[in-house]
């Protein structure tokens, strides 16, 4: 009887600890998936915004920069620093950073009306390529 009183609480705490550990791993996995899904959605939105851009010279600097900023927001520029560190691997982080610069360069060319169709296509390909690595 005494043995039973000693071991039962120990066994219960042991299984509780395992359950808590597994629940913690599951929650982390869910947070990681949720973050990656948010990033995927942002990238897709950026792609649509680029495809929908009017093919003309954007002469108003402020208008141009606001459109670019909105697309950069979709690419999580200057946002979610902790999540990027925790849920993206080194290569995914570096490639996202590179993608943010590349997209700005393509947008710049599109907005001075330099081969807009071609540059839209390059920008969309760069996003698709990143999405395939995510």
């Amino acid at each position: 009887m005494k043995n039973y009183q000693f071991w039962l609480p120990l066994i219960i705490s042991f299984f509780s600890a395992i359950f808590a550990y597994r629940a913690n791993i599951y929650t982390k996995q869910q947070t990681r998936d949720s973050f990656k899904n948010t990033l995927r959605d942002g990238l897709k939105n950026a792609k649509y915004k680029i495809l929908e851009l009017e093919e003309r010279e954007y002469k108003n600097h402020q208008e141009k920069m606001l459109i670019i900023e909105s697309i950069s927001d979709n690419l999580m520029y200057q946002a979610y620093p902790d999540e990027k560190n925790n849920y993206l691997n080194d290569s995914q982080r570096k490639d996202l950073s590179k993608l943010q610069e590349e997209i700005e360069d393509y947008l710049g060319l599109i907005m001075i009306n330099t081969a807009p169709q071609e540059n839209k296509s390059f920008a969309v390909s760069a996003i698709k390529n990143y999405l395939s690595k995510l």
């Binding site: 600097h61 402020q62 670019i68 900023e69 950069s72 520029y77 200057q78 950073s97 700005e104 710049g108």
Partner: protein, 115 residues
């Protein structure tokens, strides 16, 4: 004896633009190239420190702007000299965020140069 440097406070929004542009001059006004050549380079040549305040900007300094303006100077002059000359005022949120992003772009520019 420690070297003392003149520190020049630079209000980015008032002295350059509230809406900084893209990487190259050819892509429009207020580019990273313009900021590097017309503003930052002078501080390196005159050996003065620039303390950049970003408080009043309307749109963020973009990834390509930071890479072009700051990354290229870190590559050209070396990281030690770069940090002696260039400083972003991090006493406000926008300054803190931009400084972190700028340091990342500088690191990446230096890594690209090594390859």
């Amino acid at each position: 004896m420690a070297e003392t440097m003149e520190v020049v406070k630079y209000n980015f929004a008032k002295q350059f633009s509230k809406n900084p542009g893209l990487r190259f001059r050819k892509l429009g006004d207020f580019s990273g190239e313009e900021f590097r050549e017309d503003v930052l380079e002078k501080f390196f040549k005159e050996n003065k420190r620039i303390l950049i305040n970003l408080e009043d900007i309307e749109s963020a300094l973009g990834a390509s702007f930071l890479s072009e303006a700051f990354g290229n100077l870190a590559v050209k002059y070396g990281l030690e000299k770069f940090h002696k000359i260039v400083q972003i005022d991090t006493s406000n949120k926008i300054g803190e965020i931009t400084n972190n992003e700028m340091l990342l772009r500088v690191k990446e520019a230096l890594e690209r140069q090594k390859r």
